[in-house]
């Protein structure tokens, strides 16, 4: 039995301990907001928070997260009320949308440690996350908007 918390809820599972956290989240827990893009720590589509830190869920097995807290995009808010999610809508960021859960999770971790990042800080922090539709410039704007909202 492996046990950990997802979005505040305790999970106990007898799934194969080598199962990737990403695969567990998507295919067993049904939390499909977290995406698979590369399986190689190259794209960030699978980004979750592990005890508050941004992590590639494609790089962790469930045995490695025993007793830890996982937060996914589904745990960000009930209905998209998180300032980043609102900013994503305000700035009309997504195109295909596939990368955007990961982008938002990555950005959320930034604003937690650095509530008013500069443009350069945003860009270099977000560099872990690919967007093939290239919504990069709008992502920067949305992070800035959320940052203003959160500090006011």
């Amino acid at each position: 039995m492996i046990s950990f918390k997802i979005n505040g809820k305790t999970i106990e599972t007898d799934a194969d301990p080598d199962t990737l956290l990403l695969v567990y989240l998507r295919e067993i827990a049904g939390l499909t907001g977290t995406k698979y893009g590369c399986g190689a720590a190259m794209c960030g589509a699978c980004m979750v928070h592990l005890d508050g830190q941004p992590m590639f869920s494609c790089q962790l097995s469930i045995s490695a997260v025993q007793g830890r807290n996982i937060k996914t995009i589904e745990g960000m808010s009930e209905n998209g009320e998180h300032p980043l999610q609102k900013a994503w809508v305000e700035e009309q960021v997504p195109q295909c949308g596939y990368c955007q859960s990961g982008q938002i999770m990555r950005a959320a971790a930034l604003l937690e440690s650095n509530p008013s990042p500069t443009e350069e800080e945003i860009k270099s922090w977000m560099n872990t996350n690919l967007c093939r539709c290239s919504t990069y410039n709008r992502i920067v704007k949305a992070v800035q908007r959320a940052s203003r909202e959160m500090s006011s």
Partner: protein, 727 residues
């Protein structure tokens, strides 16, 4: 009022509680009929229900381009619907009545065609239903048709102040037998309420919460997972298979052999991976594609481009051959480009549940075509269309990757599900997606120009040596269009310029790899060669690249406007020390784009950084300016990524790259600042989604010349290629 359409035939069916207008594409046949029951089956383009909701059919598929909002927006405008009461329905069938007129009424989402191809049809459908409601309500109130208007989901009679909701209007007795007004009258452009407004995209909120569902996300009860190992080279099959370990692994259900691979089917995705990686497979290794490596392929294409081999004429003006013969001077150059991969962020994935008799299926897929996904299923199961139930999912990027006639990611999941009689999900791992991808073709382009004694250009000759993409990915279509391959050749027509003597031709070479449409199709490389070579011509003529283009655009006021505009925009920003700028004029289809890029180059490292891009686009009437802006930015950055990084190499038939670490694409920190100007006019809407990228590569190469005095004639401009060009 303008824009009238003649309706040659009309049909009426029996009235029910709701009405719908259905129009066959082509604009000659019109049906107005009632929904006969309260099922969710969609009657037509648009339907009003008694609860005063408007349901609009979305005939394309959504891959990020935003037409899921833009197309319904067009119809809703003409209907004078209240946008908040509009619901959008995905077309989940190969129903050619709603097919894309730009592709012979195939259900096909490609070529940035949705808005321009469906524009008139959608407006007619909206106008017909609007005027039916006006007529029926006017009759009810015994007033004149012209005295009632439609506004925000209500029919209103202003002099009496009476109003009736659309929902009530269609519920009036015998509504659907109301005479259709002919010819249908479309709104004046000045009366548009939604067209031209940046209304928020409908799909975006769910893309900020993770709720948007892609094919890869689908889970259905009792579903199993298959992981497929595919033959490393096209055309090879399994020679020997040892699946003992896989069959013994926890949760593995079955191992089945596919036409070009082996699938491990398991109760969990994890087990399917464990099983798949334990397979010992040898392949026939007899494929002719083992002879081919990308380097030798490009060398061969170069030779062909420069040879006398006749090409299929793509566009010609005047007589280029005699103009070249009679020229006082000539200039020539060879441009080449590598294969490139789509790298869409959602890898190929599909879910299917095949019926027990093996002759029917429900399919969840993200593809750019209901028609060819249906075709694939019919062929694989040997069945008829009525047995196929499609669920067209949003796509995590399309870019041409999901357009084929025969979709092997759909095929495999059908074969697996049929074998185990359970629903199955197949997800391609990234290395599968890349190594078994189908690419933008490699190309060699031989450019020649002729000059008179004043060094003014008299001839422009563009020979493109590349395979036919259509012949490979859609043989049915090739039978109809041969030898004109718009996918391989787009952009080479160079129709925005006025040349005295011009020819573009396609020397159709042998295909050495799997190829597919790729964002910008041919223009992704033909515009590179044409627009970089124009700078070479300007240098030879002793005029500035800007002046030469202005001269070539002399009979094209919309193009002239863009070129002026983009240079004004760039001129406002002082050029930084150590940087250079390049200009290009390209576009896509009927859409024109002028661009300027500012770059710097690290000559010893061979690296280019793009700092700033200015782009001016004329795509006619814009439906949704904000989304158009986003698409153009995305297109520009696609072009930057393609120019700086993207290269697939093949060695003896095997693709060398496997993931984003050796197929890098643009990341956040390298995304330049972009300033976009979109011309405001009322011309017919044209392509937007691919208008941004074609001008980028030539503008960068022209900028590199302006800094270093050296031309780079091979795409991409990776450090090895830049160093070679500078040495």
């Amino acid at each position: 009022m303008s824009d009238t359409i003649n309706i040659s035939r009309r049909f009426f069916l029996k009235a029910g509680s709701a009405a719908a207008v259905v129009m066959a594409t082509g604009g000659v046949r019109m049906l107005a009929y009632a929904k006969e029951d309260n099922t969710e089956v969609f009657a037509g383009w648009v339907e009003v229900t008694p609860d005063n909701k408007v349901h609009i059919l979305f005939p394309s598929t959504e891959m990020g381009q935003g037409s899921n909002t833009a197309l319904p927006q067009i119809l809703a405008d003409e209907l004078n619907a209240d946008w908040d009461q509009v619901e959008i329905k995905q077309l989940n069938k190969d129903d050619r009545r709603f097919g894309n007129p730009a592709f012979g009424n195939i259900l096909y989402t490609a070529g940035s065609s949705g808005v321009y191809a469906y524009f008139t049809i959608l407006r007619e459908a909206g106008a017909h239903l609007r005027d039916m409601m006006r007529q029926r309500v006017a009759d009810e109130w015994s007033v004149n048709f012209n005295s009632v208007i439609a506004e925000n989901n209500y029919i209103k009679h202003s002099s009496s102040g009476r109003q009736m909701s659309f929902g009530k209007a269609i519920s009036l007795p015998d509504f659907s037998t109301t005479a259709l007004r002919s010819p249908v009258v479309l709104k004046e452009k000045s009366d548009y309420t939604l067209i031209g407004k940046s209304i928020p995209r409908r799909d975006i909120p769910d893309k900020a919460t993770g709720r948007a569902m892609f094919a890869i996300d689908v889970r259905v009860p009792d579903m199993l997972y298959a992981s497929v190992i595919r033959s490393p080279v096209e055309g090879e099959t399994v020679e020997s298979l040892n699946d003992e370990k896989a069959r013994g692994a926890r949760d593995v259900v079955d191992v089945i052999t596919l036409p070009d691979g082996v699938a491990v089917i398991a109760k969990t995705m994890h087990a399917s991976f464990v099983g798949r990686f334990s397979l010992e497979v040898t392949w026939t290794e007899t494929s002719k594609y083992r002879k081919y490596s990308s380097e030798s392929t490009i060398a061969e294409y170069r030779q062909i481009a420069r040879s006398e081999e006749a090409g299929a004429e793509w566009r010609a003006v005047g007589d280029v051959k005699s103009a070249l013969k009679n020229a006082d001077a000539t200039l020539d150059a060879m441009y080449t480009s590598d294969y490139a991969y789509h790298a869409q962020l959602e890898p190929m994935a599909c879910v299917a549940s095949v019926d027990d008799d093996g002759k029917g299926a429900e399919i969840w897929a993200g593809t750019q075509t209901q028609s060819w996904t249906t075709h694939t299923a019919k062929e694989v199961l040997g069945t008829t269309e009525d047995r196929i139930k499609l669920n067209m999912m949003q796509m995590g990027g399309g870019f041409g990757r999901r357009t084929e006639l025969m979709q092997n990611y759909v095929r495999d999941v059908l074969l697996c599900s049929k074998a185990v009689k359970k629903p199955v999900k197949v997800v391609w791992l990234r290395p599968d997606d890349l190594k078994h991808g189908a690419f933008r073709p490699a190309a060699a382009q031989y450019m020649q120009a002729g000059f008179n004694s004043d060094n003014a250009m008299t001839a422009f000759y563009h020979r493109v040596a590349t395979p036919s993409v259509i012949a490979y990915f859609n043989p049915i279509r090739w039978g109809q269009v041969k030898p004109n391959d718009v996918v391989s050749m787009r952009g080479a027509e160079n129709k925005f310029y006025d040349f005295d003597n011009f020819t573009a031709e396609h020397v159709i070479t042998e295909r050495h790899a799997r190829i597919l449409p790729w964002r910008g199709i041919g223009a992704a490389y033909t515009s590179f060669a044409a627009e970089a070579f124009i700078d070479e011509v300007a240098a030879k003529s002793g005029v500035s690249p800007y002046d030469l283009r202005m001269k070539l655009l002399r009979n094209n006021p919309r193009g002239t406007h863009l070129l002026k505009k983009v240079s004004e925009m760039a001129n406002k920003v002082p050029l930084k020390e150590g940087r250079g700028r390049g200009i290009a004029f390209a576009g896509y289809g009927d859409t024109q784009s002028a661009g300027i890029v500012e770059i710097s180059v690290n000559e010893s490292a061979g690296t280019i950084k793009v700092h700033h891009v200015w782009i001016a686009v004329d795509a006619g009437k814009i439906i949704s300016p904000d989304n158009a802006h986003n698409q153009i930015e995305g297109g520009v950055l696609w072009g930057v990524s393609a120019s700086l990084y993207e290269r697939i190499t093949i060695t003896n038939g095997l693709v060398d790259q496997e993931n984003y670490f050796n197929y890098p694409i643009l990341r956040h920190d390298m995304a330049p600042k972009i300033e976009v100007y979109i011309a405001k006019n009322d011309f017919k809407p044209k392509q937007v989604g691919e208008a941004g990228n074609p001008m980028v590569a030539p503008a960068i190469s022209n900028a590199l010349f302006n800094i270093t005095g050296r031309r780079i004639r091979h795409l991409p401009f990776t450090s090895d290629n830049v160093k070679k060009a500078l040495s």
